[in-house]
Amino acid sequence: MSMQLDFSGKRVLVTGSTKGIGRGAAEGFHELGAMVAINGRTPESVARAIDEMGGGERLIAAPGDLSRVSVIHDVVPKAIDALGGLDILVNNAGRGDERLIDDIDAEHWEAVLALNLKGAFFTIQTALPALKQSKGSVVNVASMLGVMGAPAGLIVYSATKGAMVQMTRMMALELARDGVRVNNLCPGWIDTPMIEHDNELAGGDALYKYIDEDCPLGRIGKVDETTGAILYLSSANAGYTTGSTLVADGGISSGR
């Protein structure tokens, strides 16, 4: 067998792909020959990402806020039409705002659930006819906080990610006989603009230092490393892998 990854002719939708982990995955698929639909909340951010990736026919703009089901029902079919079908869906859009339990209100709960969990579910549901046709695959980007707890401030986030891990198992079983695979990637601390921003807020590289101490591998993860995992799970090499939860967290969820 060939371990060489080649996505020539594959049609891919990555949600939340203007920056961070989603952007990395979109670039990875694109470099390996795929046609990729780029999604972000605003048309401007999507256009900029496509421009930075060099433009061309194999990049499709699919802007829209996927925390609203009506937007999903508009954006996802359009993206699939433009791609001419769908082989790979990466559900990556998500938010991780911190809030202590006493400050969690209805608005916060609904906003985090809407994007991280409900958006992912209805994106898959909307894309399902196309995925059944292609015998495609889905990668849900959850988090190490889908398999372990966080010290404070992330109760709602971790509930959505734990639910996503279980959603992946359920979907994998329901869709197995259709030949559609569904897997989970659970990233740990990854060097994205989001973490860079948090580190700046903390001051004195406090967050980066904490990560280096906390993580068994002794360092923050690189976007290239989550990209590698997403491309692997989406490839024929992972053809027998479904319902699985792959952690890319430098060993944190194994225990420290």
Binding site: V69, L100, I101, D102, I104, A106, W109, L113, L117, K118, F121, F122, I124, Q125, L128, L145, G146, V147, M148, G149, A150, P151, A152, G153, L154, I155, V156, Y157, S158, A159, T160, K161, G162, A163, M164, V165, Q166, M167, R169, M170, M171, A172, L173, E174, L175, R177, G243
Partner: protein, 274 residues
Amino acid sequence: MDFTGKRILVTGSTMGIGLGAAEMFHAAGASVAINGRNAATVGETVEELGGERLVAAPGDIGSIEGCRNVVETAIAGLGGLDCLVNNAGICDLARVMEVSEEHWDKMMAVNLRSAMFCSKFALKELRKSKGNIVHIASISGLVGGPSDSHVYAITKGGMINMTRTMALELAGDGVRVNCLCPGYIDTPLIQAENEATGGQVYDFVKKSAPLGRIGEVRECASSILYFASDGAGYVTGAILSNDGGCAAKASWGGANHEDGELISNAYTTIPRTD
């Protein structure tokens, strides 16, 4: 276990596992607040349990305001709170393509959001009493299975991991948070389903649960009392299965193999359950 003087709220406690837990807490000396959507049913339950050391806290925890009202009524009636059992939940069925936004929102609100907000509204008292929270999830939150209860399983998976983060966030307050994952339990709902199918449910469970039988409500109740007791004082963020061994074999649908049979034979004789 002695719960004399302890004040307990069990949501969804007019029937099934919730009622079993409420009865057992009450018999062990606790004051217990009973909750259900229907005030008359709550009244009947309070009466059946004997009236004393019982508080009626009817209300629908499907809305956030409902959660607040139920918890505040319970705390006012009990004079504080030592343990909150988030048990109320529903299991409407739908496969992936049948899931409507309405179905999704209802399941999330009743099964997951209610546990979050009842906990939040109970916290002030739980911090005072150094009390604890028990979430009732399900085996379907731990392993995948027959897909009709798709969104139910998603809510329970969320609840399991919410237990971990809530336990860590509240550890500094001395409030413990744990989670029970029941499998097939002999509740009125299951009994009705069993009767409606001419005994098929019990037959199915007998074949699929490694212990070869359905679980008793009192077995779940005693797990809940254990979590709530001082004996579990060092237990927080724990996920306990009470499922006759189903989680261990990662299946709440597949058949057991016969006693003494080699596993290679067993697998060739298990009928497919497509």
